[in-house]
């Protein structure tokens, strides 16, 4: 067995979680629900446990706060075994969010959020300040504090569920399909909000889902689990998509895994082509000269601030000077910060070969083409057939 690394003393807000041959067997059943699971989640990272139903992912997660007791092996939080801890005290240091939210219907939103601080015996003023802070953090108006859960929408309830879990500044967060019961539009919004929140609070998060797209979106690391609580692959999302360990992972990740990789990239992450630029009134001869060695066969008309105006056609170049109104419309304009998957969708939607990419200030930065994306995906043009899938809502 490898010698356990000395767990680094990270900031007080987050601890690494380490499974060491963690095993859960129910009763005398021969097959374990979780079988010798060994996994390390570094402090401050989101680890998604994903897999088909019955793969033991929820059981594995629950071993951490001892709502499911270990049969063999161990789980360490910040180097300390959970076995040595009193379950109730342990759980107060671990945030817990479940799909059904489980808010206490008989308590106000503020009282719900203050549950753990109360259990820990915080002073009234400290609890009040913390509740206020958390409401702001999750983006709920302060006047909702005195409402009851029944008066909130499903999305708002789940935000409160997250705030309640965060109340006592836990070392670790456990999230069991937290957005599973929310409609797709609000789910996306909550996912984004949580990612923004996580960027701020940097908790160690164990996140359970059966949705591979959610896993790729939320996870710093993903553990794909198969029946019997075994990890089929534990890797960063990009690695998982690029190099699935076996057929099971490949199947689970899906045939469109190449496209999923696009969801992980931003336009600025890729090498763009340089656009041959043209200004109004410039001699067309000059422009034609630029085109000679360029990757993009059309000149892009820009204004004096280098902001794109439109593409010039052969007909435009037939004149002496560059006209103020180009023949072809500008088509899609992308931002460097756009996600590649959306950029591809824009190109396809606009039936365009090329799209101008601008920087933060709207100035031209380069050109993205379908060809660049195809090359990135590592396959010839033939694969573009598949691209229609990108427009399908998740």
């Amino acid at each position: 067995m490898p010698v356990p690394e000395v767990t680094e003393q990270v900031s007080s807000d987050a601890s690494a979680v380490r499974y060491e041959n963690a095993t859960k067997r129910y009763g005398d059943s021969a097959e374990a629900a979780v079988d010798r699971l060994s996994l390390e989640v570094p402090a401050g990272e989101v680890c998604v446990l994903v897999g088909p139903s019955g793969c033991g992912k929820t059981t594995a997660m629950r071993l951490v706060n001892r709502t499911v007791e270990l049969s063999e092996g161990d789980v360490l939080i910040g180097g300390e075994s959970v076995r040595d801890r009193d379950p109730a005290r342990l759980r107060r240091e671990i945030g817990y969010v479940i799909q059904q939210v489980g808010l206490f219907p008989h308590r106000t939103i503020a009282e719900n959020i203050a549950t753990v601080p109360h259990l820990l015996g915080w002073k009234k003023e400290r609890i009040e300040a913390r509740t206020e802070e958390l409401l702001e953090l999750i983006g709920l108006e302060a006047e909702l504090a005195e409402r009851y859960p029944a008066q909130l929408s499903g999305g708002q309830q789940q935000r409160v569920g997250v705030a309640r879990a965060l109340a006592a500044d836990p070392l670790v967060m456990l999230m069991d399909e937290p957005f599973g019961a929310i409609d797709p539009i609000n789910r996306e919004r909550l996912q984004n909000e949580f990612l923004r929140l996580q960027a701020e609070i940097r908790k160690t998060v164990l996140f359970v889902t059966h949705d591979i797209d959610e896993a790729i979106k939320m996870g710093d690391r993903i553990a794909i689990m198969r029946k019997g609580g075994r990890v089929a692959q534990y890797a960063m999302p990009a690695e998982l998509l690029m190099a699935p360990a076996d057929e099971f992972v490949e199947d689970f990740v899906g045939a469109d895994r190449a496209l999923k990789r696009l969801a992980l990239m931003r336009v600025g992450d890729i090498d763009l082509w340089e656009a041959p630029l043209a200004h109004v009134g410039q001699a067309t001869v000059e422009v034609r000269a630029k085109l000679a060695g360029a990757e993009v066969p059309y000149p892009l008309l820009v204004d004096s601030e280098r902001r794109p105006l439109g593409w010039l056609s052969e007909r435009d170049l037939a004149a002496e000077t560059v006209p103020a109104r180009p023949d072809s419309p500008l088509g899609p304009v992308l931002d460097r910060a756009d996600v590649m998957r959306d950029a591809l969708a824009d190109l396809l939607q606009g039936e365009a070969q090329y799209a101008a990419v601008t920087d933060h200030d709207g100035r031209i930065d380069g050109v993205l083409s379908v060809e660049i994306i195809s090359e990135f995906l590592g396959s010839p043009k033939a694969k573009t057939e598949e691209h229609g899938a990108a427009e399908r809502p998740r």
Binding site: N65, T67, P87, A88, R89, L90, R91, R92, E93, I94, G95, Y96, I98, Q100, V101, G102, L103, F104, P105, H106, R107, T108, T115, V116, L119, Y148, P149, A150, Q151, G161, R164, A165, L174
Partner: protein
């Protein structure tokens, strides 16, 4: 055999009964001795209230913790629910009569007998009420580190208030109704007007009925008010 005691239709009237409650009336059966009146009414009513409150408190003190514990642990369903079914089938009259005959008469013995009547509905409802609590807040409570006792007291019990109180109200109705026949167990309650009707006369019978009904309705009203007080507004909102 029966029917020898009372004529089939008594010339009782509401007016006569009300007079009986407030002013002692002369009765033909007592040979001119006056019966009834506010003083007697108040005394008997307080007796009935006393034995009802004692018995209900005793039944609650015994049945509630057991029902809550079994409900929380999720064990003993057969016992908890079966007891409720059996309890409903026990004839109150026979129970009181038998206990009076076997353990004797008096306030303590009647209190015990009445508490026995009140135990089944309280225990069954406590068990069922806790079991019916939505599992997700309980799972969340455990997950965020409440002890089992805290889960029971801070989550399950407040959420089960309507069912718990329904059990206590059922028990109260059974106890106050049966306390009416207290005189056969040596405790003079309002039922004395009914059981010893040969003393109080026909207006006494009707007056007894009116008074017992009023007492029961008042207690029921008080418990309904208490239930409202104990039920969180959030719970009422989520049920609406």
């Amino acid at each position: 055999m029966i029917g020898a005691l009372l004529p089939p239709i008594l010339p009782a009237s509401i007016g006569g009964a009300i007079e009986f409650i407030f002013e002692p009336q002369s009765s033909n059966v007592t040979g001119g001795k006056k019966v009834g009146g506010l003083e007697v009414v108040v005394e008997l009513m307080l007796n009935q209230l006393e034995v009802t409150v004692f018995a209900l408190a005793l039944a609650t003190a015994i049945a509630l913790p057991i029902g809550l514990y079994l409900g929380h642990r999720g064990v003993g369903e057969l016992f908890a629910v079966g007891l409720g079914n059996v309890g409903r089938a026990v004839p109150e009259l026979a129970l009181i009569a038998l206990m009076a005959a076997v353990i004797g008469v008096g306030l303590l013995n009647l209190t015990i007998a009445l508490a026995v009547l009140g135990i089944p509905p309280i225990l069954t409802n406590a068990f069922v009420g806790i079991r019916q609590v939505d599992r997700s807040p309980v799972d969340a409570a455990r997950g965020i580190g409440m002890t089992e006792m805290e889960i029971l007291l801070k989550v399950e019990m407040p959420l089960a208030v309507p069912t718990l109180m329904a059990g206590i109200r059922s028990a109260m109705i059974a106890i106050v109704a049966t306390a009416t026949i207290g005189p056969i167990a040596g405790v003079l309650t309002l039922g004395d007007f009914i059981i010893n009707n040969n003393v109080y006369g026909e207006n006494g019978l009707l007056a007894g009925g009116i008074l017992v009904a009023l007492l029961a309705l008042t207690l029921e009203f008080l418990l309904a008010w208490l239930q409202r007080l104990l039920t969180s507004r959030g719970l009422r909102l989520s049920e609406a």
